[in-house]
């Protein structure tokens, strides 16, 4: 997957920051306006996909690491499970909204309200964004145009490469 021209690369590196900021906004005010964790997570993933499409495969292999994305994915899932288990330890059932019912009610229609719902939104957004970025990264790195016969793969039109 080759990169694109200089114009596209410059604009993409500016626009990526704005898309990322918009995704964070949709996650954080998920309990007041339409949006929530799922839509915001997908928007964050698509900001990195823009970077991947504009700069090509070699840049991606050096600078956007696979290990960090998969670790962020696990952190998001564990955070969501931890919020659920904390509902039991503070007296109640699994997944109780313990912050709203015991500690921090907050006022309606403000940013700090609705208890543990914004925290769950952040966990889900992290998890969905990291998962989708991981799958598109894997599709672009692992999937060069090989033709395989047995254990030996070669790219048609040239070099032979071992099964790596």
């Amino acid at each position: 997957m080759k990169g694109m021209t200089v114009i596209v690369k410059t604009i993409a590196s500016w626009v990526k920051v704005l898309i990322f900021l918009f995704g964070i906004y949709i996650i954080i005010t998920g309990h007041l306006t339409p949006g929530g964790g799922f839509a915001g997570g997908v928007i964050i993933a698509s900001s990195y996909v823009l970077l991947m499409l504009a700069f090509g495969r070699e840049f991606v292999e050096e600078n956007l690491p696979l290990g960090a994305a998969s670790r962020l994915d696990c952190v998001g899932a564990l955070m969501f499970a931890a919020i659920a288990v904390l509902g039991i330890t503070t007296g109640g059932v699994f997944f109780t909204n313990f912050l709203y019912q015991k500690y921090l009610p907050g006022k309606a229609l403000e940013l700090v309200s609705a208890g543990s719902i914004p925290l769950s939104n952040i966990a889900i957004g992290l998890k969905v964004g990291a998962s989708l970025f991981l799958i598109i990264l894997v599709l672009s790195i692992f999937c060069q145009d090989y033709r395989c016969k047995g254990n030996v793969c070669e790219i048609p039109g040239g070099k032979e490469k071992e099964n790596n």
Partner: protein
């Protein structure tokens, strides 16, 4: 009448998933079926002349959080929307898995045609 058109969309997807020989076309048929089901669920919860289920400042009657009866009588159903929200994201995950299986099969057999793959037998 709109429900029947949704069902027609589902039948088009089913026909494509059953009859076609190209593997990617089968995946596209499954995807069309998923779109039809999501549309049908949201149509079930629609109220004629309704508003979206988001509370704004004018709908709160007292400080305890009680909502005005006009909002309760006019808002659409939020339950099907919650179910469809997770279904859309799950359909993306399953699309990724199906396409990765198609890509690997193409690398091994060099064709997308399922009748030829069946006759090759490993």
């Amino acid at each position: 009448m709109l429900y029947s058109l949704c069902f027609l969309l589902f039948m088009i997807g089913l026909y494509c998933a059953v009859v076609k020989k190209n593997m990617v076309k089968i995946v596209l048929g499954i995807l069309v079926m998923e779109y039809a089901v999501n549309l049908f669920l949201i149509m079930l919860g629609y109220r004629a002349g309704g508003v979206a289920p988001i509370v704004s400042k004018e709908d709160i009657v007292e400080a305890g959080g009680t909502l005005s009866s006009m909002f309760v009588a006019k808002s659409v159903d939020p339950l099907p929307q919650a179910l469809v929200l997770t279904a859309i994201v799950i359909s993306l995950g399953s699309l990724a898995l199906m396409i990765s299986i198609c890509i690997r099969t193409y690398e091994k057999y060099e064709t997308f045609d399922i009748t030829e793959i069946r006759s090759l037998k490993g």
